[in-house]
Symmetry: C2
Subunit: 740 residues, 2 copies
């Protein structure tokens, strides 16, 4: 029995083993078919990483990694010496940025250099603006340089105040005061003083309201032989003139605003419009470049007072007087009629190298889709605000992204960081780079996010952007804590301090120009935004007071604008989150319905301005209205389609995203605006009378301007109405389902 028992138990053990084996086999089969295959082929269509929702923790990780104090440290480092475009320090800074980015762990960081036309004061002969007495002798000479008020400003290699691309020459003449040298100022002069002959005079204009290049252009067009631009205390200083830098953030009397005068449709290198300024480039003659022919020079208000207090002629119209404490008169000439103004300007154009640094974080899923973050690196002097506050933020942001990379994160799409050279000379570095890589950038760029000045004041966050990005900007600002009140978001404070005229969202203004988003948006139709923390618009000043002067120092920022650098951190956090959202979201977070609304508003605005006048010429809005309605309904359907789609098909996701990217591109007309062929966005452009400001339907606005004096412009109006209708219709077609 024992043996039998043993045999029996062996039999049962064998049976059990067999059962185990059999169970195992069946189990494997069940496990194989019941769970895995079924799951794979039926309920989870294959999509892989392309359908992976982004990691929800990245925003917090990114923000937690960044420290305001680091931003302060970067700013101190960046502002320690002047770093003007085309100088050795510009290249040194570029190399520093590149090396840091490599250190942070970006996938690559490279320098892209271009040989471009820049402009500098002559190192041997000073630029002189002088008052001559009745004998032609020098009565007074304006300061050559700004006074050093703190040790910070007493360093080498500070470029004296000048206007880049000024004409050269030694001229003498009577002075005329032209207020801000806006078109409306000259109109007023003509209306009030019809006998005033402006031809052959030297103009003096105050800085503010419009881009200085337009001041020079308008002056040259009105017959000026030279232009002096000064900063009036009314626009740049406190009422109490002693309350100035370094005791306050207001401009002291010796401060002068540097800046370029390059007014053209193309920006970028003046000699290579449309193409990159590489060694093989064809360069046009300097004489043919769109640069002023007359000498133009900036001075401070201490010096300006020496001229304006002695000016003769009529008292200025209402609104023209500044705060110099003198009686503002028009001129021409002085109370002592034999006195003249002399300008002896030696500012010279020179071909030099400028350098962009491009950093790259390759996307895990769609490496060929770029979210580009840009900031220029070149400064007139120390660049405490412009642009090094932005550069400091960018360094901290790239460091934090690098940290996330090392921890294993990688964005879905690629992040590209652009540190531009020679922005101050007319967006040169960014424009040349866009020109060099135009084909790839136009095909692959999702959005361009600019921070030039991160903090120009302590009032609130603000944004300029194309309409597709509105929603993403609001969303990012809602996630970032306000530097003013930790119980609120950046969005909350923005809404409080910038209450909307209508609706319930803080206003986002149109882009205008004035920084490196311009080539991306106006040349190739890339949706773009420009972010910053700014001063209270209630102050009524044109910019932060020491703008482009030697007093834009680290001290200025730390003492008056952003003592803890937490405003900068807030802007940088919004910037980072906006980029992350655009890079990581399965569906690009563009809202085409916002674009539809802005188009409708812009059409209404155009109608309210010009409809009756146009009707008299037989021009109707029917086609534009119909296109706008089609765009609106296409946008609505498109977003319904997106909302209801299942995110389980890589090709379908890519297709929808390609359509989202195509909308803004459709507004690009390769023929460009009338007379401005490199400005190709037919809905938005920098205003023709003020490059800083934005203009909707610029082709129409430009042509309607003083149309009664230029009746042949009606033809352009008709043509542009058709172009607008076409482009809006074309943009609508990009959102349709792909069946033709």
């Amino acid at each position: 029995m024992a043996s039998s028992h043993h045999a029996s138990s062996r039999k049962y053990i064998a049976l059990s083993a067999l059962a185990l084996l059999f169970g195992l086999l069946i189990g494997v089969v069940i496990g194989y078919f019941a769970f895995s295959r079924g799951t794979e082929t039926v309920t989870v269509p294959s999509c892989g990483d392309a359908c992976q929702e982004p990691d929800p923790d990245i925003f917090n990780k990114l923000v937690n990694e960044m420290k305001a104090s680091n931003i302060g440290d970067y700013l101190r480092k960046l502002t320690s010496v002047p770093h003007l475009a085309g100088t050795p320090m510009d290249l040194e800074n570029a190399e520093y940025v590149r090396d840091e980015w490599i250190k942070y762990g970006l996938d690559s960081a490279k320098i892209y250099s271009y040989d471009v036309l820049l402009s500098y004061p002559d190192s041997n002969e000073h630029n002189l603006v002088q008052l001559l007495d009745e004998h032609g002798n020098i009565n007074f000479t304006c300061a050559i340089e700004e006074q050093g008020l703190r040790d910070d400003e007493k360093v080498e290699n500070i470029v004296n105040p000048f206007n880049a691309y000024s004409g050269t020459g030694n001229i003498t003449g009577d002075l005329v005061y032209v207020n801000y040298a806006r078109v409306e100022d000259f109109d007023e002069l003509e209306e009030y003083y019809p006998d005033l002959n402006l031809t052959g005079k030297i103009f003096i204009a105050r800085y503010g309201k419009i881009f200085r290049g337009n001041k020079a252009l308008h002056s040259e067009q009105r017959g000026a032989i030279g232009l002096i631009i000064y900063s009036d205390p009314a626009d740049y200083a406190s009422d109490d003139a002693t309350d100035v830098y370094p005791d306050a953030w207001w401009l002291p009397g010796t401060g002068a605003q540097r800046g370029n005068l390059h007014v053209s449709d193309h920006k970028g290198d003046p000699l290579t419009p449309g193409y990159p300024a590489k060694d093989y480039a064809y360069r046009s003659q300097v004489e043919d470049a769109p640069l002023p022919n007359i000498p133009v020079h900036p001075i401070g208000y201490d010096d300006a007072k020496m001229f304006l207090r002695e000016l003769s002629g009529d008292i200025v119209p209402s609104g023209w007087a500044g705060d110099l404490g003198v009686t503002y008169r028009i001129g021409p000439g002085f109370n002592n009629a034999n006195r003249k103004v002399n300008m002896d300007i030696h500012t010279r154009n020179e071909q030099r190298m400028t350098h962009n640094v491009i950093g790259f974080i390759e996307g895990a899923v769609e490496p060929d889709r770029y979210i580009i973050l840009g900031n220029h690196r070149d400064a007139w002097v120390f660049g405490g605000v412009d642009p090094s506050s932005g550069t400091a933020g960018m360094m901290e942001l790239t460091r934090a992204f690098g940290k996330l990379l090392k921890e294993g994160w990688r964005p879905r799409r690629s992040l590209v960081f652009g540190s531009w050279g020679a922005e101050e000379y007319g967006l040169i570095g960014s424009t040349e780079w866009v020109e060099e890589f135009v084909q790839n950038l136009a095909a692959r760029t999702v959005a361009y996010l600019n921070v030039d000045i991160a903090t120009s004041g302590d009032f609130t966050f603000v944004a300029k952007s194309t309409p597709l990005l509105y929603e993403a900007i609001y969303s990012a600002t809602k996630k970032v804590t306000s530097p003013e009140d930790s119980s609120k978001s950046v969005y909350d404070v923005w809404l409080e301090r910038y209450p909307p005229d209508s609706g319930d969202l803080p206003p986002i203004s149109s882009l205008g120009s004035g920084s490196d988003f311009a080539p991306f948006t106006y040349r190739i139709g890339v949706p773009a935004a420009d972010l910053r923390y700014r001063h209270n618009p209630g102050l009524g000043i044109s910019s932060y007071p020491v703008y482009h002067s030697v007093y834009e120092t680290y001290y200025l920022v730390e003492a008056f604008i952003d003592p803890e650098f937490n405003r900068n951190l807030a802007v940088t956090s919004v910037w980072g989150e906006l980029a992350r959202d655009l890079a990581d979201s399965i569906i690009i977070p563009f809202n085409c319905k916002d674009y539809a609304e802005q188009i409708q508003l812009a059409v209404e605005d155009l109608k309210s301005k010009f409809e009756s006048e146009m009707r008299n010429e037989g021009i109707h809005f029917d086609a534009v209205d119909s296109a706008a309605a089609n765009f609106t309904s296409a946008a609505t359907s498109f977003h319904q389609r997106i909302a209801s789609m299942e995110l389980n098909d890589a090709m379908k996701i890519r297709r929808i995203n390609d359509q989202l990217m195509s909308v803004e591109r459709a507004f690009i007309d390769p023929l460009g605006l009338p007379s401005r062929r490199f400005l190709r966005h037919v809905l938005f452009a920098p205003s023709v009378t003020n490059y800083y400001a934005g203009s909707a339907f610029p082709g129409i606005q430009d042509a309607m301007y003083k149309i009664n004096e230029n009746l042949d412009q009606w033809d352009t109006v008709k043509q542009q109405m058709a172009v607008i209708a076409f482009c809006i219709q074309s943009a609508a077609s990009t959102m349709m389902d792909v069946v033709l």
Copy 2:
């Protein structure tokens, strides 16, 4: 014991059951993890349809479905009545095509209409070309219409021979014979007869060698007040003049070649350059359109003989005499010096609707990628060859694709079929459609495949194309059986009959212009091909003899060109297979290395023509050479990367395909060629002196033309050398790995 035995066996049974259960559990776990999950996440990355290899049987199914006899039936139907653009029959034909396509099962078929400037003889006043005697009385009047030689040609609505867009007017003058009115003909006239004054004369030129619009342009530039164009037997008839249609395919003496004179860079509607001719379009003045100002009219050789036999002056230079059997003289004027020629031309421009039909088969995986197959539908009269042979093939091809659709096939990418209107007036229908949908077409079109004339002779298949398509064309022709020899492929016979000058492939020529591929390639950079079966080039004729005459009938094709319609079937099969290959292949079958080779050859060609002359002006090829070398090496690496990639990632596949689509686009310069802004492809363009012919580096070739007489052109040469270097470099950058 029994109970114990039972208990023991129960215990073992329970143990076995447990073992079974345990085994099952373990098995399920193993089955779940070991096979399925492992398989899913490691060895078979999820990709779904995007990685599905195309069905290898589709080519055979497609070709087996198509019947030559059906093509014959379609041709008979299409050529039964005249179907000139802008006439009721044009619309009827469009509706027929649309309805058939819907019947065949295409996903959609729609008519897209445009309101464009066309041109017709006046229905009340005949166009007259006459010989006046010494009293100003009519001695001889050219035939108003071609003689009906068979019943086919004796139908209503045949438009009399005319040249579309001719100037109008009643002019009288002396006649001068200018051979083909090529630039070199006028050069020869100037050289041999320096005293000959061409101004104020009426020119007579023979058809052939170059586009007739260039003949008109050259004549007007040389001072002609009118131009008569005739078809010389040397170019269009047999040596034995009786051996003509309807007894042979040669042109009879009454046959005259219709055709348009629209020479411009934009083609399309003359009044709406750059934008679609929709109701809201801005239309320029007819006077400003690039159309001839002088009357131009075509006649047959019977009539031409009446003038040429009496012409006085010097005997023509060698090569100028045709086969009229008279002594060819230059003129001016006649042996009877008081005789004059009179032209009274009433051809009028008129705005009319033209219609495109667009058929659509939506791609299963990438519906937003288009392979477009196009053929124009409008004919001067019956269009037996031009274009209805192509239309007949297209109908059979769409029917076959429809059949495959019904059987469950669907291409990976979308197939788009374009049946164009008003091609004969200057590619108008296709150009307007490209202009209307430019944004989507530029972003989404993989390739454009044109068949205008499917069969213009019985010699061999030939192709014109951009280099990216060479390999795909060779591959398709190798799969299709030759209509000449069923043991050979179309490729084999092509290679036999068109032996290459160098290499071992039958030559594919550059596109030139002359059909609807032009707006796709030259405006938006879409790789394109044009396919046909042609006559023996050894015949030395400019085109098939009855081109654009009333004798282009079904009978002509059946009797002399393609009796069994199997040549048409061969072309149609190549067309279909090429489209299928482009639509179905996971990786788009473009070969960038072929482009590299063509660029290198074109550069060598340019050097051999101009290098020494350029060197004297300080212009070097360094940058172009370097760009071409970069392009070549980028192409090589790119294809190595493609060859070694695993096709298991949808986004990666799309990315590579996007890069392949981007290469040709990079040659598009939005600024266009110098003075030809709508021709934007910097590598290839229609020649400026002959719109039919292709020109490589057209910006250079145009500027170098007679540069010794136009020294300011050197600046354009310099500028274009830089543009070419830039564009080739830019195209190279599109092939690089996506890291910037």
